[in-house]
Amino acid sequence: MKFLIVEDEEGLRKSIDQYLTAEGNICDWASTYEQGYQKLSIYDYDCVLLDLTLPDGEGLQLLKHLKKINKADGVLIISARNSLDQKIEGLSIGADDYLIKPFHLSELYARLLAIVRRRNFNGNSLLHFNELEIDTVSKETKVNGQLVYFTRKEFDLLLYFVANKNKVISKSAAVVHIWGDDADMADSFDFIYTHIKNVRKKLTDSGCKDYFQSVYGVGYKFSET
C-alpha cells in the first residue's frame, strides 16, 4: 500500500515511516503544507496521514483541497488537539478517522488498514492468517472454516494482533486499543494478560496453532515463528 505522511515533527514521521515500510508498504512524506499540497495534487495514495497543525498552514485546508480535486485517498487525521468539535469537523469534511497524539504505531497501522479495507468496496472484508479467517464486517472468526465465538473485546484484540502480525504490541498499546483513553488504567496493564489468555485458549481449543508470543512482560507478538 502507498501512504503519505504529512507531519512536521521529524522524529514521529521517521518512526511511522519505519513501521509502515517494514510491513512492505511504500511511504512518502511531507513536512509542510506546501509539500503536502503538491504531493496530494500529483500522486494518488491509499491513505494520507494528516497532521492538523503544520508550520505553514492548517491540515484541514489540505483535506478540503483533497476533496475539492476529487481524490479518493483515505484520510487519517493525527493531531494533538483532541477537542471534540475539531474531531467532528475533520470527520464531516471527509476524513475517515481521527487519531489523537500520542498514539501507538500498532494502533495507527490497525486504523490505516481498516480505512483501506473500508474504501476497497470490491475487496472483501476477510483477513486470513493460515488457518485463521476473520470477517471484519460480520465480526466472525473461523478456524479451518469452523466458527469460534469471541466477545467483542476479544474479537477486537485478535483483529488488532492479526493486523499487526509479526510486530510486537506493547501491553500499553493493547490496553488503549481495547479500553480507550477514558479509563484511568495507566497503572494496571497486567490485566490484558487474562484477556490474551482467553483468546489463546479459544483459538487452540478449536484447533488453531498458538501464534501468540509473550515478549518478556512488555508485550505480545502474533506471528508464525
Binding site: Y19, A80, P102, H104, A183, A186, D187
Partner: protein, 420 residues
C-alpha cells in the same frame, strides 16, 4: 460585631457615664446650695431667739415658730463648739412620718443658766424641688439622646446601603462561572473608591485566571507531540529482534511512565475544557443503560481485583452533555475500583434524583475537603490525582451536588441531580 453595634456601644458607655456624672454633680451642687439656704434660715431663727432672750431674758416658747422646731435643754458644762450645723432625721407630727432635716445646735446663757438650743428645719420641700429641677433638665436630655440614637441608626443603615450591595456583588462574583463583578452606583466617595478597587481586582483576577487556563491548555498540547515521538520510538524499539529481558523490562517501565504522563496531560486538558464550558451539546441520556454499559467496560478490571458489584438502579434519564456524563461515570468507576482492596465490594445505587457509588477501601475516612483537590492522593495510589477533581468540576458545571461520606466502612460518593 457589626460596625454600628461597636460604635453604639462606645457611644452608650460615654453618654451613660456622662449623664451619671452630670447628674451627680448637679445633685451635689444643688444640695449644697439648699443646705446653705436652710442654714441661713436657721441662723436667722437663732438670731430671733437670741434677740428675744436678750430683750425679755427668757427663752421664747418652742410653739411660737411656724416652719422650724426649737428645743432647749439645760446643760451644766459648755461644750467645745459654739455653733454646729448637721443633718438629721426627725418625726414630722403633722405629716406623721420621718423626714430628713437640718439642725443648728448652739448654746445660750440666760440668767446664768446655760442652755443648749437646737433649731431643726425640714429639708423635705427643698428636696422635692431638687428632684423636680433634675427631672426637668435630665428627662429632655434622655429623650434627645434616644432620638439621636434612632436617627443615627436609620442614617447609618441608609449610608451603608451601597456597601451592602457591594458586598453582595462581590460574593456573587465567581471566577468559575462567567459572571462578572457588577459595580454599584453611589455618590459616596469612599464607596466609589472601593468599588473601583474591587472592579480592578476582579478584572485582573479574571484575566490572570484566563491566562493560567490558556497556559495549561497550551503547555499540555505542546507536550502531546513530544509524547507522541517518545511513544512511537518506544514502539519502534520494541520491534528490535535483539531485545533481551533487561531491555524489555526497561521498555515496560518507559511505557508505563509515558502512559501516565499522557493520562496526566489529557486530564489537565479535560479540566480546562470543562472549565471553559466547551462541552455544550446536550441530549437525553439513559443513565441506567449507561451504567450497565460502563459496568461491561470495566468488567476486566473488576474481575481482576475480584470485586463484588451490587447494583440497584431505577430508570432515570438525564438531559446533559453525553461526554461529561460518561466522564463522570468513568471516574466514579475508576475511583471505586482503584481504591478498593482485592475481594472488596462496590455498591451502585441510582434513584430518581441521585447516583451513589459506595466501595470498600484500604483507607479509612478521608478528608472530604481535600479529596476533591487537584493532585491530592494517598501515597499508595498510582493514579493521576485528577480523577476526583474532574468529577467535582463536572458536577460544579452541571450544578449537581457532589458529596463524600464514610458510612459503615464504605466510602460513598453521592451525586444529586437536582436541576435540569
Amino acid at each position: 460585631m457589626k460596625l454600628f453595634t461597636s460604635y453604639n456601644r462606645i457611644l452608650a458607655v460615654i453618654t451613660l457615664t456622662g449623664l451619671l456624672a452630670i447628674g451627680f454633680l448637679f445633685y451635689q451642687t444643688l444640695g449644697q446650695y439648699i443646705n446653705k439656704q436652710i442654714e441661713d434660715h436657721l441662723y436667722e431663727e437663732l438670731l430671733e431667739v437670741k434677740d428675744f432672750a436678750h430683750v425679755k431674758n427668757i427663752l421664747p416658747s418652742p410653739d411660737g415658730f411656724d416652719d422650724v422646731i426649737v428645743e432647749y435643754r439645760k446643760i451644766s458644762r459648755p461644750s467645745h463648739s459654739s455653733k454646729l450645723f448637721a443633718d438629721t432625721v426627725f418625726y414630722n407630727p403633722k405629716k406623721k412620718h420621718e423626714e430628713s432635716a437640718r439642725y443648728l445646735k448652739t448654746q445660750l446663757l440666760i440668767k446664768g443658766q446655760r442652755y443648749e438650743v437646737i433649731i431643726t428645719a425640714s429639708k423635705f420641700e427643698r428636696q422635692e424641688q431638687i428632684k423636680s429641677i433634675i427631672l426637668i433638665i435630665l428627662l429632655p436630655l434622655v429623650v434627645l439622646l434616644f432620638v439621636l440614637w434612632l436617627v443615627n441608626r436609620i442614617l447609618i443603615r441608609r449610608m451603608w446601603l451601597p456597601f451592602r450591595q457591594l458586598l453582595t456583588n462581590i460574593k456573587a462574583f465567581n471566577i468559575n462561572k462567567e459572571k462578572v463583578f457588577e459595580p454599584i452606583r453611589t455618590n459616596i466617595e469612599e464607596f466609589k473608591e472601593l468599588n473601583k478597587a474591587v472592579l480592578e481586582v476582579s478584572l485582573k483576577v479574571k484575566s490572570d485566571y484566563r491566562e493560567i487556563k490558556l497556559f495549561t491548555e497550551n503547555a499540555s498540547h505542546e507536550m502531546m507531540t513530544p509524547l507522541a515521538v517518545i511513544n512511537s520510538k518506544l514502539d519502534t524499539m520494541l520491534q528490535f529482534n535483539s531485545l533481551g529481558k533487561e531491555e524489555s523490562e526497561i521498555l515496560a517501565d518507559l511505557y508505563k511512565a509515558t502512559s501516565k504522563l499522557t493520562k496526566l496531560n489529557q486530564s489537565l486538558l479535560l479540566l480546562v475544557k470543562i472549565d471553559n464550558n466547551q462541552l455544550q451539546a446536550r441530549e437525553e441520556i439513559d443513565l441506567k443503560t449507561l451504567l450497565e454499559e460502563k459496568l461491561g467496560y470495566f468488567q476486566e478490571l473488576i474481575q481482576k481485583r475480584n470485586l463484588k458489584v451490587k447494583t440497584e438502579t431505577a430508570a432515570f434519564t438525564l438531559y446533559a452533555n453525553r461526554s461529561l456524563i460518561e466522564i463522570l461515570v468513568n471516574n466514579l468507576f475508576s475511583n471505586a475500583i482503584r481504591h478498593n482492596y482485592d475481594g472488596g465490594s462496590i455498591q451502585i445505587t441510582l434513584t430518581e434524583d441521585s447516583l451513589i457509588f459506595s466501595n470498600t477501601g484500604t483507607q479509612t475516612r478521608l478528608d472530604p475537603l481535600k479529596i476533591f483537590e487537584r493532585f491530592y492522593k494517598d501515597n499508595t495510589s498510582d493514579g493521576t490525582g485528577l480523577g476526583l477533581a474532574i468529577l467535582k468540576q463536572v458536577c460544579l458545571r452541571q450544578h449537581y451536588q457532589l458529596s463524600y461520606h464514610y458510612e459503615q466502612r464504605q466510602h460513598q460518593f453521592r451525586i444529586i441531580f437536582n436541576s435540569r
